[in-house]
Symmetry: C2
Subunit: 326 residues, 2 copies
Amino acid sequence: MSVDAQILHALRTSNSGSISGADLSQKLGISRAAIWSRIEELRELGYDIEASPHQGYRLLSAPDVLHADDLGWRLEENQKIGRDIRVFEQTTSTNDVIEKLARDGVKEGAVVFAEAQTAGRGRLGRTWMSPARKGLWFSVLLRPSLTPQAATQLTVASAAALRNAIESHTGLKAEIKWPNDILISGKKVAGILTELSAELDRIKYILVGVGVDVNLNPSDFPPELRTQATSLKIELGKPIVRVELAAAILRELDREYARILAGEFSAVADEWEKHCTTIGQRLVIHLGDRRICGRAESLGEDGALLLRTDHGHLERIVAGDVRIEK
Amino acid sequence: MSVDAQILHALRTSNSGSISGADLSQKLGISRAAIWSRIEELRELGYDIEASPHQGYRLLSAPDVLHADDLGWRLEENQKIGRDIRVFEQTTSTNDVIEKLARDGVKEGAVVFAEAQTAGRGRLGRTWMSPARKGLWFSVLLRPSLTPQAATQLTVASAAALRNAIESHTGLKAEIKWPNDILISGKKVAGILTELSAELDRIKYILVGVGVDVNLNPSDFPPELRTQATSLKIELGKPIVRVELAAAILRELDREYARILAGEFSAVADEWEKHCTTIGQRLVIHLGDRRICGRAESLGEDGALLLRTDHGHLERIVAGDVRIEK
């Protein structure tokens, strides 16, 4: 834990609500002057820390900013995903940034967050709206020893993890729309964009881009999206502290990724399938120029959707633009 | 055709063996002074062009260099692969160079040649030896509208094209070792390294890296490779003009690629299978940590190898390190 994270942790967990400079100094093993200078820097980041001669320091309010250290200490000691966290005020797309890191040889588990993206990307080349400080827009770098064909397993695992984290953190019932959108009350609240770089028989790296509409207001969505998209704040009726949700998601991602590496994909897929409302529904799927209609039967062993077409064939759908017929 | 290419073409096809500056000037529609200056530049590249007051210019010998224009005019008028050819004296790996072009948005069909690679790559992270001016080391950029799962089709098509071009250009009997090595007399003479960048449901780009051992001498191979690797020059007993072979390969690649895009993979696969000596043989395949033994039965519809294991199962092998048991 960094000094910043230790100070914030001490302020948050102190019984009386405040802690003296002397106690902090002793606890962290650094001088009172150094404590003071770190407190000043935290204040500049927007942390409202009161200093009184008698009681010491007190955290009155924390800003809703993503702070790499304040996020990092909330993770499990030995988890891979998040062992290297970088937060940017603004990026084009976090997938672009993490891809540069990937090519520079950065280890797997690195995560890049952006407070805002100027060119956030959704699946199939679509744009992903990502207004400043209202969501979680981040990308995770993975380097699994898998064939490119197994990459769909990671999409399934990521979707399962994202759903679990959102549901358990907010208490809202969340479902998965195949392959990797997260819905609340039938509206999209989060999505995943997986990109891979590979030779034919080995993955070089995978980028898992995640976008969660956390504290967006209805007015943040363009009118044409309001019937299809929502945010956690809208559904919950109150805002969410993003750094806490981010930590919950990274913990879940790490857990599910470990299961994939341990060869437990079928257990992950079962969990995914339980929460996937797409299974059993009638779908219209656009695959490039092709349009396929049918009923979603189940999930294939590699994460593909098995679709019983209207002609009675069983088709294996790897990905595509899925519309649910109502 | 560029001016350089037109001059070379005129010199090569002149009936008397030589052509006057005046004739060249009229034929190309540029001044005699301009012809003279281009001839000077060609001489600097190593073309031995004699100029005599009475007979005009005569091409005594052409250097074995790769010249983008001299290669380009040998291709079909409307072919995609090769419409943008770049020749470098030296690169790390041509796949690295073409990947940068791909990320910069360069159109498909671009081809990067290097006279020498300092970090040529083979499959599975191996190095590929590529001494200066002795082989063809190049990479092709493709942007097919296919899913990443269909990328193996391009490996099959590339291997078929490379084999066809080598066999028809040299007259040597060439065979394919699954997935994409080209063998002559059982020794490796060429290989392909396919790399892809993709979202889960669409390919962003594919890089087809090709290495052909053209004019290497036995002493160019490290001793431990001499029993397994060979060159066209060794097999043929004489050197090959590389630019001519390069053109033959690019023409074949373009033809086979067009067939894949037209949905004719099964025809390409039939051709591939006819020349693949791996089918029917007993194999030991290393797939990461796994070792699988069995007999190669056929090629799956996506380019995978269908292996009947010693336990009687039919396994679908996408790629791996294949050893043929003798």
